[in-house]
Symmetry: C2
Subunit: 184 residues, 2 copies
DNA sequence: TGTTTATATTTGACTTGTCTTATATATGAC
DNA sequence: GTCATATATAAGACAAGTCAAATATAAACA
């Protein structure tokens, strides 16, 4: 499970609560690994069970107690082990392609509309990506580690490249559709 | 659910059994939408419940009876409706990027090895893709519809483009790593 | 004064997808 | 003669992810 290890990665920076972790995910890795809040809390229980994390309960009077999770030595070992283990590229699930696969049954304009709508969403995503570096700048300054910043930037670059490739595909596909003969 | 609709798409070509459908998936859309056998049979039950498909039981003496599923008129309507509905690009889950995100903690060589292994797998995938057109040629001849063939080819092209983009990323990333300063 | 947002955790239900096993039989390969 | 493969369906267990609700309180805003 990638989620538990992602959590270990964050806890290795600093002890955090489930709430903190949710925010950390939502402001950093959510573009390639979104995390549900319920999932995070469940994963934390799991990390405890495996001895990769411990809790420190910090009482608060006005709000629920904070349960601050700390990575353990064996957690750090596990994180390193996992980080060095080669990863298989996941086979991507692309719902749009199912529609494209059966799009022979649609009129040209319908198929083109499908691709145009998709392209518009990809463009929006690209614009989102473009806003990330500014948001991340504060983090980068706080952490003072150009090496960390470099790897963070790599993950963004991946998203940009793949999104651009998908857009180039939609553009060419759109242009090609009107040239397809209907019958042999 | 995309799976049910993909099944409707196939049933719209011809009536099929669950077994036939599994083969259809495995020889066509499995690169962007793999389907588990158990899932297919469950989805067929669901299609029946919704009135989008009907069964015809064809008795056989030597083997289990064939349950041949037919798309209904309302199933055809639903398929069309679904095909024309714009699709949101899924947010991709890329486990590798979690490792890259935390790769600042690794040595240069470890990070490079991670990317190299990934690139090798992507290369293998690209070679798989290269073999598909020959396999699909029989299908294409059987169906005699250049329009269908065109859309099928589009789905393959998507895979090729995205895989190439990912490979270009790994290449550049690998080359950039040795140039990162460790401390500020 | 009332509403929204932020802090903080837990639980339950549910959907998808994966993996495994069970059941039956025929054909072809070695 | 045996083993693998093809035909055909069903069901159970489980992991991962999603969604929503319950509980509690403070600060900020209109």
């Amino acid at each position: 499970m990638s989620l538990s290890h992602a959590i270990l990665g964050f806890l290795n920076y600093a002890p955090m609560t489930g709430y903190d972790l949710k925010k950390a995910f939502d402001t950093s890795v959510c573009h390639f690994w979104p995390a549900d809040q319920a999932q995070i809390y469940r994963a934390l229980r799991d990390l405890m069970r495996r001895g990769w994390a411990t809790v420190e309960i910090v009482p608060q009077e006005d709000r629920p107690n904070r349960k601050v999770y700390h990575i353990t030595d064996s957690g750090r070992e596990e994180l390193r082990r996992w980080l060095c283990t080669p990863t298989e590229p996941e086979d991507p699930r692309v719902p749009l392609l199912i529609k494209v696969f059966f799009a022979g049954q649609l009129a040209d304009e319908e198929a083109v509309a499908l691709l145009e709508a998709y392209e518009a969403r990809l463009r929006a995503r690209l614009e989102e990506y473009a806003r990330i570096p500014q948001q991340a700048a504060q983090y980068a300054e706080a952490i003072q580690s150009p090496r960390e910043v470099f790897f963070w930037a790599l993950t963004l670059d991946y998203g940009v490249r793949l999104t651009r490739a998908a857009m180039e595909w939609t553009e060419e596909a759109r242009r090609a559709i009107p040239n397809v003969r209907r019958e042999k």
